[in-house]
Every structure is written in structure tokens, then in C-alpha cells.
Symmetry: C3
């Protein structure tokens, strides 16, 4: 038995919850906030048999890995500035930090 | 020293907090929400000497184990349907998921 | 790699966050509440290389250790009671509870 602690961006957390349910993986969600500038994240706590750890890591990677996304920045109301600012720009979203921790006893009452 | 992480239903969390205080067990509460349909749960984080782990598990089991409870379902306003629906039914409440994790260092500052 | 779980009083948590950022230590904050009477605390989750564990503990100790502070109690409106009550009194603030837990795998996606 292992405990997996996964911290993902809020925007990925619903999709990740659904994936866990699809794959019959029990996860508890803790509301958290980021160090650095990564505000708004969710911490998942997952108890899992040793032989399913790799599957859980694979699901987290597929659902929540860091990737680029095009985003239209808010329109610049001051039209003296460079008008290019309103074109879509590429931003980084997602990303997951994952710890696998040993478990000495696991009980369900 | 061990760290015990216990996830219980919200409805059992106040009683469990009181038990911990009675037995001089320090516990930190994290607000959490469930995987599956177990919405509204509380995660307790407990630091405890090795020889008291069994006592903590016993308290969690006694206070928060899964059990049946009779509940009266909301009255059915549509009286064309089976009137038996308003009789008390047995539902499952409670339940605890508990991890015991090794601790390499424990400090209080 | 270790996981450090540190529980500090809310009043120390912003200063501790800033220290972690200054020292390039990634920490996730979980909102928590205390056992005993220590209401309003924050749980930090920190993933850190083995050789930096002592530095993290030192930062937590310096920023959040228990100490005395002078506080002026609320003025007693009933002036028949001892007027000394309005003088500053020494109270204990701060304090940190810290666990260092082994990590078997650490991934960033
Ligand atoms: Ni899938
Ligand atoms: Ni008792
Ligand atoms: Ni510093």
C-alpha cells in the first residue's frame, strides 16, 4: 500500500477526479493554495495498492501535465500602446507535483 | 513516531475531535471532500508515538466506523406513488479510511 | 527526497510563505484548524531534497517558534473590577509542529 499525494492546478482537478472515478481509484481532495505564483491548486490524497501506483501516476500525467495553451489577453483599453497585445498568446497551464509515500498500516472501518 | 492520516465523514468529525482531546491526542483538521460519492469529509493529521498508534486506531474505529442508521426519507408529495416511501429506511453512515505513515523526524518549535 | 509537513499558526503563515519563496523552497498551503485550543492554523506541504531538510527546519524554527508577546487585554468596562486588567500581559504565540516523512518517488509532470 502506498499513499500518493498529488498537487494539481484547480483547472485540472475536476477532470482528474472523473478519471479517478472511472478507474475505480479512491481519492480525497484537499483545498490548497500554491507556493510561488501557482495560486489555486488542489491536493489529492490517494491510497493505492503497490501494483497500481504506476497506473495512478500515468493518469495524473495524462490529465494534468504542463502544456501550452493559447489565451487572448484582456483587451488593452489604452490604444496608445502596442495593439498586438490583444492577439492570442501562448501560456503554460497545468503541471502536477506528485509524492509517493510508504504506508505501514492501512485500515478501513 | 508515526503520522496517522484519517479521513472520516463530516458528521463524525466533531465527536472524533472531542475523543482526541479527551485522550490527549493532538490532531489537526483539514477540510476535504470525497472521491466517489462520499461528499463532505474531514481529514485528520495526527502525530503520535509508536506505542499509542493502536489506541488512536481504536478511537477512530469506535467513533467513526461504518454503521446502519434509520432515516425517514423526505415525504413524497405525489400521493399517487407508493406510500411506503415515507417509512424509515436503513442507510449506511460513517466509515473511516486510515493510513499510518513512518516519520523520520518530528520537531516542535 | 523528503516531504515536510509543517503546522504553524495562521499569524505566522504569511511570513513563512515569504521565507520559503526567498529561499526557493516550493510549499503548498492547506487550510487547517487545530486540535486543542490552537484554532486557525496552516499546514504547509514541502517537497525537498535530503540535503536541504535542515535548512527548511531552520527557517520554520526562526519564523514560527513559540514565543512570548505583550498584549493589551480588552478594556474592562466594569470599573468596579481590578483596574490592573487593562495593563499589557505576556501571552504565548507561535509554535510549529513538523514531520519529516520519507518519499519513495517524486514526480513533476
Ligand atoms: Ni482514463
Ligand atoms: Ni474515549
Ligand atoms: Ni531567510
Amino acid at each position: 500500500m502506498k499513499m500518493i499525494i498529488a498537487i494539481v492546478q484547480d483547472k485540472d482537478s475536476n477532470r482528474l477526479s472523473s478519471e479517478f472515478i472511472d478507474h475505480n481509484i479512491r481519492a480525497t481532495k484537499l483545498s490548497s493554495s500554491g507556493g510561488f505564483l501557482r495560486s489555486g491548486n488542489t491536493t489529492f490524497l490517494i491510497g493505492i495498492a503497490d501494483e497500481r501506483v504506476d497506473k495512478v501516476l500515468e493518469i495524473i500525467q495524462q490529465t494534468s501535465h504542463q502544456r501550452e495553451q493559447f489565451m487572448t489577453p484582456p483587451v488593452n483599453l489604452d490604444n496608445s500602446l502596442d495593439s498586438e497585445a490583444a492577439f492570442p498568446v501562448e501560456v503554460q497551464v497545468g503541471g502536477a507535483t506528485v509524492f509517493v509515500v510508504p504506508v505501514e498500516q492501512f485500515k478501513q472501518f
